[in-house]
Symmetry: C5
Subunit: 303 residues, 5 copies
């Protein structure tokens, strides 16, 4: 069964084959937000980025890969995203219970520059039954062209076997000042490039109201960008006037109220949902489930 909201979204993926659309459909119909056109994704790749202790010591059960599968299922989320080893350790037990996204590139705390290692393949995604691959690009990095060429190849290979592509587009690198990483113009540009690269789902950070690029300033002048929902709307507009699914990441663990307000702004600005990791698994399971329950209600328009 399907819904009009989901069919309307899928209609925008007019050049994609039925295999890719079926996997987008799986994600959009999964869990408690299934059929609404909204989605919440649980990503657990912080072990690669920050190490196991910084990721899991605050909530020791989270060292176990099964913990996250179960959390995503019990909370009624839309999909679960993780690197190769994390998915392999639970892919059989939880087969079919939750759409999975294989994060195919990863960085770590000692990596110089702004790049990631490709640590998994489309074949891995196929044998593990994943619905999508996830790939990070760093606009502003010296290695950005290389990353774009990697995802071009992997995206084409994935689509050819019916697997969707999620691009994490995170501005970062020596060509971009730290101050500009969260700028509105930069975030909208990063989202647009992900769309141009053929991403089926675009993942960006919630932008601030800072404008970074001198050449872009005049395009933003005369508009009030203080409301986060308006900034979300601009990012959505930059993704082909809303023709692509856009989800926003929550960043570091923070207060629950801030998390809820972000979700309301994403919803009100027309974004498709949240991708929320540390704010989930770095809380005790009960607290995390309560928070996710509330987020689901917000996206359903009930909070």
């Amino acid at each position: 069964m399907t819904t009009k909201a989901v069919q309307k979204i899928l209609a925008n993926y007019e050049s994609d084959n039925p295999g890719v659309k079926a996997n987008l459909h799986r994600i959009l119909m999964q869990g408690r937000l299934g059929g609404t056109g909204k989605l919440i994704i649980l990503p657990v790749d912080q072990g690669f980025e920050h190490g196991p202790a910084r990721s899991f010591s605050v909530n020791a059960p989270a060292y176990d890969p099964h913990y996250h599968y179960q959390m995503a299922i019990d909370a009624g989320l839309s999909a679960y995203a993780a690197p190769l080893g994390m998915l392999e350790a639970g892919a059989d037990k939880f087969a079919g219970q939750i759409p999975t996204i294989l994060k195919v590139n990863s960085s770590n705390s000692w990596a110089g520059g702004a790049n990631q290692a490709v640590t998994a393949s489309v074949d891995d995604a196929l044998r593990l039954g994943c619905s999508a691959i996830g790939f990070t690009i760093y606009p502003g990095s010296d290695d950005c062209f290389e990353m774009m060429e990697e995802i071009r190849e992997m995206r084409a290979e994935a689509a050819s076997v019916g697997i969707a592509t999620v691009i994490w587009s995170y501005p970062r690198g020596s060509n971009l000042p730290k101050s500009g990483e969260l700028a509105l113009d930069v975030g909208a540009y990063a989202a647009h490039m992900a769309a141009l690269l053929g991403a089926h789902i675009i993942k960006v950070k919630l932008p601030s109201n800072h404008i970074e690029q001198a050449d872009a300033k005049k395009c933003y002048e005369g508009t009030d960008w203080s409301a986060q929902a308006d900034r979300v709307a601009h990012v959505v507009q930059s993704c082909f006037a809303g023709r692509r699914i856009v989800v926003f990441s929550g960043g570091a663990a923070k207060g629950a109220d801030a998390v809820y307000q972000d979700a309301r702004d994403i919803r009100d600005g027309g974004g498709n949902g949240s991708i929320i990791g540390r704010n989930t698994f770095q809380r005790p399971r009960d607290e995390a489930l309560a928070m996710l329950d509330k987020l689901v209600k917000i996206y359903k328009g009930k909070e």
Copy 2:
């Protein structure tokens, strides 16, 4: 049906297979200039190069990829060129209505050096029903050899499946002073290299009457290069004495009269037409249609 003007042009592509010729024919017979041997192409790759706000905020409907397909069709243009995501977002709806050119490499505002990422493939062009691929080279760049080797491979692959190749040849890079990027000798050389690389359609900028290379100065002495039409004629001559299609780009948005004069000079110098992006989509739709109408008439010799 075909015309003598078009047949004469195609006869120059004597080594190409019928598939490539059929796609060149499609472009040359399309729209209001169909059959004249002249052409106008709409390129929309500025979102990659400059970001979405700098490209589209002045005319918000242009955020939607469908807008540009419809513009190219309604104005009776010859072809529409864009990066992967932009084409994918409309390729099904507008299938067959306008020849498309897949721009397969792209730069962005943070890219160091003078190079581009390869962001699409010949397989993409095939599945999206494109008539040609478009590729930028930067003569004068430290990475020029790499770019030439990339287009050699993609051009060969494209031709093998009947897809034509358009080369954007834009002098730029650390081996070339900024002052020389628009020089006549440099532009003619850039066009010649595109021809040597096997481009079916060559896209260059309108050159100034500056001569940049010390070694080339004596070749240009004694001739008056102040007329733009004469400079166009020299570029055309440099493309195998007119045996290759050459179109000229319009550059940044500017006054309509300047755009018209450029077109008259291209026509009078024997160039094949214009590739005109920002001057189209950064105007309101009505104004853009009026401008394109006038350009068509100029190329038909009526203005």
Copy 3:
């Protein structure tokens, strides 16, 4: 025949194919520790790393590759690991008598930076009847991404033909101070990355109680890490809460008592065993056999 201890371990490799599991089973059922879930591996790659004289002159019979095969068999060990040439020189004579691990990358005394050359292939492992390939990564190295991408490809190829993968994860390189190579946080992180990369067996060094990373310090505060068994337990926890086999290396040749104490700590911390090279072959054969006999007993809980 099999045992419950081994079946419990294999159950954690839920996404792996029967070929890989059969090879893990072969290793876990081999020798005197067969069936216990514990294992001792003999690695002889020091000839590459340090040269033949530094490795073997103290015990000249060890120049002969047959010596090590025979030692591993006579001592009842679980597997024998060595580079291509060393295995080839005995693979036929000892075929089937001891599971072998082909070390597929190697460094040497003159190598600049922190990297290794790939010196053997999965095809080599197949034709030599190996149960696993072994690969070193250097977290903290400038070349770490490259090494990760190499093992991603080799691991995938190996698994596709039923061969298991052992990752030596040794923190080292210009992004990591010498003082941090043995730090607890660094070692746990290195083990975790090996797990994320899909290692079936993870090989790390026994960590000290130093905490290196500023960002990780608060995760370790408030716990007493002075007991080596506790540190082992933390590394095991960092490998998917014990879902992956972890073995610890013994380092340079040292006193027998220190070797025994390490083994007891590995055992008591829940580690799966030892990989012990120089402490074996740099002793006279009788002494080495006596030491290995005692280590076996320790892992059986008898010492």
Copy 4:
């Protein structure tokens, strides 16, 4: 039909397959020198190296690729060599009338360092009916190993489909002082390396009587190298004692008498002929034909 002179040359290519020999035969039997064992090749790759104006403005008909095909045919030359686009623009019209050599790598005026881009392929040579590929190496360049590895692969691929290989061996690069580029020892060494790489035809510059390499000086002492014919003989000797075809390039346009004297020296030293570009197409057609007529006569021993 064939001749003893040609059969004697072909006999030296004892390891080559009949396809390659047939193409060498085609070149050696073509035109007015057909059957003599001597040859004159017309190369037109200066458009890539120096740009169109510096190459063709002095004789404007030469902008047209057909001009050069016709010149090579009318003058009764042995072969015509040019880059991809130049050959494509006439390959159909002149099919079979003159053996062609596809120059598969090319430099340009802005290239840093001493290297070339690979701008065509063996497949291109096949579909255009070429008898050989041409490839430049720069002994003395930092990129010389890369160039050698490129031609090793292309030469093998070409030979496997019966296409011969011509190597332009031009000493140049940061490891060689400008003063040494034309030195006798350097030129003989460059020719020898082309032979070792498997070139079927070797193209070098006429060397001066300077000896560049300190280590080589004693090998040349005691011999009078002032006669150009003797220097040619030494280069021929360095190409497997005359077992390989060697042609010499004429360099920049110069006086006709100097061109004729060069040809006599090549002939008298046992060289196989001239490769003469700018001295041909930068003269009016009548003058060029007259010059080529005289060169043919020189190689026939009549002048």
Copy 5:
């Protein structure tokens, strides 16, 4: 027919296929040392390394590739090794008369750093009927990993078609002082690495009694290394306790008595023979034949 001495050697290649063993057998049974387990190889790659004049001007007939084939045959040697062009120029005439080794990588006088270009392939070796490929590695070079990875691939490909591999292991490069290139510890290490890489025949230089590596000094203390035969024995020991064929190179042309003494030391130390180039072809043919005759007798134990 075969001999016990040869069968004993071949038995050590227990993991190799019959094709490789047959080629080793061909070399070991060839010429006047056939069946003794000793061998003399003629290598002629100095034209690449030093240029033709420095290699051949002292004995001009040696410019002709046929000269060397004939020399190896007439002197009753075991094999002839040369780069691609040199072998091609005689492979047909001398087919089957002498086992050949295709040297597949080569350096030259202008090469910066310590590396070589790969200038031939296994396919070349097959079509030329070669028994082995030859490859140089430079332990101590910045490019050593790259060279090792090249030979790993070529060795595997060669073995898969029954062709043996000879590794020239020559310590050299920026990580190794000039003083250490001939050191005993360094030479033994270099030979050991060649063995670990899977070389079937190892070619090293005769080492001096200098010990270079600080860490290795204590392994050599207390033994008298002043006898060259003892140093040879240590290198042989370092090649898997004599399980691999080791030949020693003669270096620059020198007095005949020194050459003979080297051979006696190689023989007495248990080495398998000499690889002797310049000392052969830089002498008049008669002298060279006389010297080789005496070397054969030495290896037969008659001198």
